[in-house]
Assembly symmetry: C2
Homo-oligomer: 155 residues x 2
DNA sequence: TATTGTTATACTCTATAACTATA
DNA sequence: TATAGTTATAGAGTATAACAATA
């Protein structure tokens, strides 16, 4: 990712949260593909794997809503992951319209293989900020999108 | 835009800056189309208009780099805006490969028509945060992407 | 009637490379 | 040889609507 030219006056865009978020996300995507290079994984697929790992048996529609992925698109993603042997699908007895999703053994192994790269990428993608700034930034973003704070282990 | 389900454990995604940015940007896009409804403008087009307004005669390639829009895509955008009478293009004498961009009178009028909606949208898209938090969030995002702080009038 | 997942279609933005004209 | 813009093509992600099965 190339740097921004510093000779340009961004005008009111400098104060536009939406614009700042767009540039920030592009930076984050570049960092992702940089840090996860060679693992052949896309951000969407990784997010599905991580949520399935933390929520075994989650319903497909709930997963889609949680990740802000349209149901139609989630169908394609999950079908592809099922085809690759990462995910299994079951129909619950109490609502036979729904689909519950589970990681297969292969899926769990895939998560285990991706976690180290994902974890070591965290500090890299916040290299321009101090640890305190990083904590603050994440907290404000969570508040902005209405995402509850993660449980923090209290010593 | 629907709310996130609060029954889902996001696991390590809660700490992933890239994931938080993705959700935040989707929220911002929804806010944009909500606040600018009826004005028939897209985020990309508005950003081009605002930067052209602040940088008359900017070269097309510099504009593309500033907005992180690929040159090929910028060509299509600018051509369309030229066709709509918003932008004029000139070839500078010192480098006849380049193209300089200018707002036409229609373009200036378009900016003037969009500015009020753009400005009043600012507070709306940060409704979940306090003013101090908003200031901090924007400052941290600018630092993250390497965008210089805007000039602040000192009283 | 409403909901869950599915299928199909189209559109936007993006990625890439090849091409021209200039430098 | 390198650069600025253009053109063309393909792909990912998304939006939308219609549909079947189930509630």
């Amino acid at each position: 990712m190339t740097d921004l030219p510093d000779s340009v006056d961004y005008g009111p865009l400098s104060e536009s949260l939406g614009f700042l978020l767009r540039l920030s996300q592009l930076r984050a995507f570049a960092d992702f593909f940089d840090g996860m290079a060679g693992l052949d994984v896309h951000p969407g697929e990784l997010s599905v794997l991580l949520v399935l790992s933390a929520n075994p048996g989650i319903r497909q529609g709930v997963l889609a809503r949680a990740l802000t992925i349209k149901r139609a698109h989630m169908t394609k993603m999950v079908r592809a992951m099922e085809r690759d042997g990462l995910v299994s699908r079951t129909v619950p007895q109490d609502d036979r319209r729904a689909v519950e999703l589970w990681l297969t053994d292969t899926g769990h192994a895939r998560v285990a293989a991706l976690r180290p790269a994902f974890d070591t990428q965290q500090p890299r993608e916040t290299a321009r900020l101090t640890p305190d700034e990083t904590t603050t930034l994440k907290r404000l973003l969570r508040k902005h999108i209405g995402l509850k704070e993660p449980d923090t282990p209290c010593p």
